[in-house]
């Protein structure tokens, strides 16, 4: 490695001190790869030529300042939008439970677990499987939200209720599917199909509850509320992302 390049990267790294060590390593690694690409393209093979090339570059402190500023804003955007989108889901489902006449603290803990753990957690983790195909992404979303919904299982009066995990998995499924363009009939049919699945699991498979017709509209409206809030959360996040991207950022 060229000494001049090493010194330049060390200066950039020093300017990134406010960021996490992992993030700093990624940024410096990327910059190093970039400078080597440019050096190769320009046929640079000597220390002097490398020094000349680096002299044309932005001052390392200024470059680091620009990179660090963007990183902080990106992290804030990612966290804030995940939280806001998760809160929509939590508030909608918690409010529905209150309307159903559930105890306020059950509704509150359900809203917190559904909104913060499942909703915000999904949006926070989603970037890790973005490069997969649509169905693999959906599978990952279901798996991740199934795990994230473990706290949701405890939002009952009688200990852990495993079927609560299905609400978390359904939320992940909906959130991932709503990021893709899809026909309206699927959007409408999903809460209906999930309601049928919930009754099948609780009545037939687990034998936990007795089937009663009056429970159907209640369950259906809850699942429709969940679907609507997931749709709103995805739309809000997309809107905020577009606003963020269009915010001017011109330094070069």
């Amino acid at each position: 490695m060229y000494r001049a390049l090493e010194a330049y990267l060390a200066d950039v790294d020093a300017g990134l001190r406010g960021l996490s060590r992992r993030r700093r390593l990624v940024l410096v690694r990327e910059l190093k790869a970039h400078l080597y690409d440019e050096a190769d393209a320009r046929g640079i093979q000597s220390e002097a030529a490398m020094t000349d090339m680096l002299a044309e570059k932005e001052h390392p402190a200024l470059l680091a300042e620009g990179l660090a500023c963007g990183e902080v804003e990106d992290a804030t955007h990612r966290g804030a939008t995940a939280l806001a989108a998760g809160m929509i889901i939590g508030l909608a489902t918690g409010f529905h439970l209150i309307l159903e006449g559930r105890r306020w603290y059950i509704a509150l803990t359900f809203a917190a677990a559904q909104g913060l753990a499942v909703g915000a957690g999904y949006f926070w983790a989603r970037r890790h499987w973005l490069r997969l195909g649509p169905w693999a992404r959906t599978g990952m979303a279901v798996l991740a939200t199934l795990l994230l919904s473990i706290p949701l299982g405890f939002t009952t009066m009688h200990g852990f209720k495993p079927t609560r995990l299905l609400y978390g998995a359904f939320t992940g499924y909906l959130l991932e599917r709503y990021t893709q363009e899809r026909p309206l009939w699927q959007v409408i049919l999903e809460p209906v199909a999930f309601t049928a699945l919930m009754f099948f699991v609780e009545v037939v498979v687990m034998g936990r509850v007795r089937f009663m017709w009056w429970k159907v509209p209640l369950e259906l409206s809850f699942n429709a509320t969940l679907a609507l809030s997931a749709l709103l959360a995805v739309r809000l996040r997309r809107f905020l992302a577009e606003r963020r991207v269009l915010t001017p950022q011109e330094q070069g």
């Binding site: 940024l27 690694r29 990327e30 910059l31 790869a33 970039h34 080597y36 690409d37 440019e38 393209a41 570059k57 932005e58 200024l62 470059l63 620009g66 990179l67 500023c69 963007g70 990183e71 804003e73 990106d74 992290a75 955007h77 990612r78 989603r126 970037r127 973005l130 490069r131 990021t179 893709q180 363009e181 997309r238 992302a241 577009e242 963020r244 991207v245 269009l246 915010t247 001017p248 950022q249 011109e250 330094q251 070069g252």
Partner: protein, 108 residues
């Protein structure tokens, strides 16, 4: 070229380029320089924050690839959400250009 005119257009420019296929940082800078005949030069300090912003908003994703010579490159690829955003913004951009052209174009 007046830099004020370019403000806010870098993300759309990057998304348009990435629509052609995954690219790495230096390749993007070179492509922009060549296509604009050298009138617009992206610097690292503008390019990478813009790419990272697009990645944070989930319009693009990135991955590392090791070259035959053992060196690494970080490639950026557009995601479906980025394509949808670009499509919408292209339409708006064309309307905007037509509107401005009506006032400052050759026939104005």
């Amino acid at each position: 070229m007046d830099r004020e005119l370019l403000k806010g257009s870098t993300p759309l420019l990057l998304l348009s380029l990435l629509c052609e296929g995954p690219m790495y940082g230096y390749q993007i800078i070179e492509t922009v320089r060549q296509r604009t005949g050298g009138t617009y030069t992206l610097k690292e300090g503008a390019l990478y924050p813009a790419l990272h912003k697009l990645e944070a908003t989930e319009f693009i994703s990135s991955y590392w690839e090791t070259q035959e010579n053992g060196r690494e490159r970080r490639y950026y690829a557009i995601l479906p959400s980025g394509e949808a955003f670009l499509k919408a913004k292209k339409k708006e951009w064309n309307q905007f250009v037509a509107m401005v052209q009506a006032f400052v174009g050759p026939k104005a």
